[in-house]
């Protein structure tokens, strides 16, 4: 191999380095600009929700006036309550069904399996408006006339139809999440359990379910978020009177831009981000985070129970008493989950521990506020 002149001159090398630097700088700026674009409007929204005047352009002073107005807005509180009710019901049903379906599709082979699988992905892909109107048509043109003519039942749309619809579009999301978790699942663990004498049910109970739980919880939280945030499907399946949060916001947004909407949006945003954060943590993190959430949930419910005791003493009802006792039982639940939580904490690294405590704190807030909104 002859080596007369260097293959690349020093100048060329320097040029290459400069172009590489410029390239990196461009990439970095592009990234910064895009993140700015994505987050700036939201940040501005949050900032101006604390403005003490009606402007969304000039920040004149700090005030929580708009939030106070929200708290006193009974129409809004009703809408929030409806959202939570629908959300909770949807989550419980959709998570159960979605998990069962994921287990079925993962573990069994049968004819039409791919067709079923594709069909389960369809609701995610179909434009929401199409799904919305299809349900509108279904309820009004098919189900209700059927119920009327065959059973003589006069049915109408309302929170129940909203819930049914939400469950329908939530099941695929839970399914996808749990299915992904199942794909990563180590089957030899189940074989080991069988080898040690556990039958199918025991194996499911002691090995499969505990290891699947983070995925299930992640899916549940996702279902809850999607239900709370939904506008399009809700608007086509609702009754005449009921409102949910997104519906209420929408009606305000169409009218104009005010800090009150900013405040409401901020509240919803914080809630969404909290829930999404919890869901991601549950899905991708270890057991320590689901334990943290368990502790947080118990604590949140228990705190609400404590918080609402004074009202019990003010006006005594049997139902109220039962409710308060149940809520105080939540403290017991919290206490029981605390031990395993501490055990898991000891096994995590410091940054994981911080995240676990944050998770717990967020869960306490979410549960406490939701129960507060729901039960008043």
């Amino acid at each position: 191999m002859t080596a007369n002149a260097p293959a690349v001159t020093r100048q060329q090398v320097r040029q290459k380095r400069v172009t590489a630097r410029i390239g990196n700088w461009l990439l970095g700026t592009n990234a910064a600009l895009i993140f700015g674009f994505l987050y700036l409007p939201v940040v501005i929204l949050i900032i101006f929700s604390f403005n003490n005047t009606r402007s969304v352009a000039r920040f004149t002073g700090f005030s929580t006036e708009w939030y106070v107005r929200l708290a006193n807005n009974s129409e809004l509180l009703d809408a929030a309550r409806n959202s939570l009710l629908v959300g909770l019901t949807t989550t419980i049903v959709a998570t159960a069904i979605g998990t069962l379906t994921a287990l079925a599709m993962d573990r069994y082979r049968f004819r039409l399996r791919t067709a079923f699988d594709a069909n389960l992905y369809l609701p995610i892909v179909i434009p929401e408006i199409v799904m919305g109107i299809s349900l509108l048509l279904f309820f009004n043109q098919a189900l209700f006339p059927l119920l009327q003519n065959v059973f003589g039942i006069k049915a109408s749309t309302g929170l129940h139809t909203i819930t049914i619809s939400h469950i329908a579009f939530d099941i695929p999301f839970v399914y996808v999440i749990v299915r992904a978790r199942l794909a990563d699942f180590d089957r030899t663990l189940e074989e080991a359990a069988a080898d040690l004498g556990a039958d199918e049910w025991k194996t499911f109970q002691r090995v499969t379910l505990p290891l699947l739980m983070p995925g299930i919880i992640g899916g549940a939280l996702m279902a809850f978020t999607l239900s709370l945030d939904d506008y399009l499907i809700t608007v086509f399946t609702k009754g005449v009177r009921e409102q949910t949060m997104p519906l209420y916001i929408y009606s305000l947004v169409r009218r104009g831009v005010t800090p009150e909407i900013n405040a409401l949006s901020t509240a919803l945003l914080i809630g969404s981000i909290g829930l999404v954060g919890l869901s991601l943590t549950a899905q991708n993190g270890g057991v320590v985070y689901t334990r943290a959430m368990s502790v947080g949930a118990g604590l949140g419910l228990g705190l609400y129970g404590l918080f609402s005791l004074p009202t019990l003493f003010a006006s005594f009802t049997i139902g109220g008493l039962v409710l308060r006792l149940l809520l105080l039982a939540a403290f017991v639940w919290m206490w029981r989950s605390y031990q395993p939580y501490r055990e898991e904490l000891n096994l995590t690294n410091p940054s994981g521990r911080i995240l676990a405590w944050i998770t717990m704190f967020v869960t306490v807030s979410v549960v406490f506020l939701s129960t507060l909104l729901l039960l008043g």
Partner: protein
């Protein structure tokens, strides 16, 4: 009882799959079929359908020739609805284009960072993806409004004298859609780019390829599945979008989504709305099938 459950696979399967299958069939597949049915039925007085149903192709005919509608005036444009469909597709293409152009470098940038930063940045991308679409669109609206921050800033700085009309036009709708769907593009492209073996680029350079050629001949083909996924994940929802054109366009910008919504609201023509929905669904399905075709080919090539 448990013994029988264990023995019969069919029994187990139907127990597990049953609830999900039933729910989706009854509350998803069936309603879609009903849409199909209603699109071939004549409109009744109140806007829903005539009972007993009268079958007709009029709804579809009306899509291609708007003047056949009973409400058509003398100056109607037969291609009105076709135009709106085309308009939506055009907006879809524009938005998809920008999302990919902006998103790909971002995904590339993130993939080059250290692991810790990568996860953090991806969380920042995912959060908008899952949080309330309505709120995010409103956030953009309040910045672009005539009394909003952008206009005030520009006026204060002296660049303009009157507030710009940034809302209630096609520009606003496009920006709003890009704003809303950018994360949808970034995620799949990032997934693809992350799997990409960067040492291949070094190998290309070693063999004499300039960065541009290395990108075109090595990186782009191998990350194409992600780009195609992004394409489908953006284009399909954008074409059928409703919330963004409604809020950012203020009712002045007509897309398929707003048109369909109108049929179930003010215009009171459910069968026509059903027909439009069906055409939209066909467009969607074509897109999805094209995506599946391309992605399975890639996996078959064994990348």
């Amino acid at each position: 009882m448990l013994k029988y459950f264990r023995k019969s696979k069919g029994f187990q399967l139907s127990g597990l799959l049953g609830p999900g299958a039933l729910w989706i069939l009854i509350f998803f597949n069936l309603p879609i079929l009903i849409v199909l049915f209603i699109s071939f039925v004549e409109r009744g007085r109140a806007g829903s359908i005539k009972i007993p149903p009268v079958y007709t192709l009029d709804n579809y005919v009306q899509l291609f020739n708007a003047c056949t509608s009973q409400f058509a005036g003398p100056e109607c444009d037969p291609l009105l609805y076709v135009g709106i469909f085309g308009h939506s597709v055009r907006i879809g293409l524009v938005v998809t284009f920008w999302c990919i152009i902006l998103g790909y470098p971002l995904a590339y940038f993130i993939s080059k960072q250290k692991q810790v930063w990568r996860d953090a940045l991806m969380v920042l991308v995912i959060i908008p993806f899952w949080t309330n679409f309505l709120v995010r669109t409103y956030a953009l609206k309040q910045v672009l409004a005539t009394e909003g921050l952008l206009n005030s800033f520009l006026m204060n700085v002296g660049m303009i004298n009157h507030p710009l009309d940034l809302l209630f036009n096609e520009f606003a709708v496009n920006v709003g859609l890009i704003y809303g769907y950018l994360p949808f593009a970034i995620l799949p492209m990032y997934a693809s780019i992350e799997k990409f073996d960067h040492t291949l680029m070094e190998a290309a350079a070693d063999l004499g390829a300039s960065p541009a050629r290395a990108f075109l001949k090595v990186m782009l083909p191998l990350t194409l599945p992600g780009v195609i996924a992004a394409l489908v994940l953006v284009f399909v929802p954008v074409v059928g979008a409703f919330i963004t054109p409604d809020i950012m366009g203020g009712g002045k910008i007509e897309m398929i989504g707003t048109l369909i919504n109108r049929q179930f609201g003010v215009s009171r023509n459910w069968p026509f709305g059903a027909a439009m929905s069906l055409i939209l669904m066909l467009l969607v399905l074509i897109g999805v099938i094209a995506y599946f075709r391309s992605s399975t080919e890639e996996t078959r090539r064994g990348i």
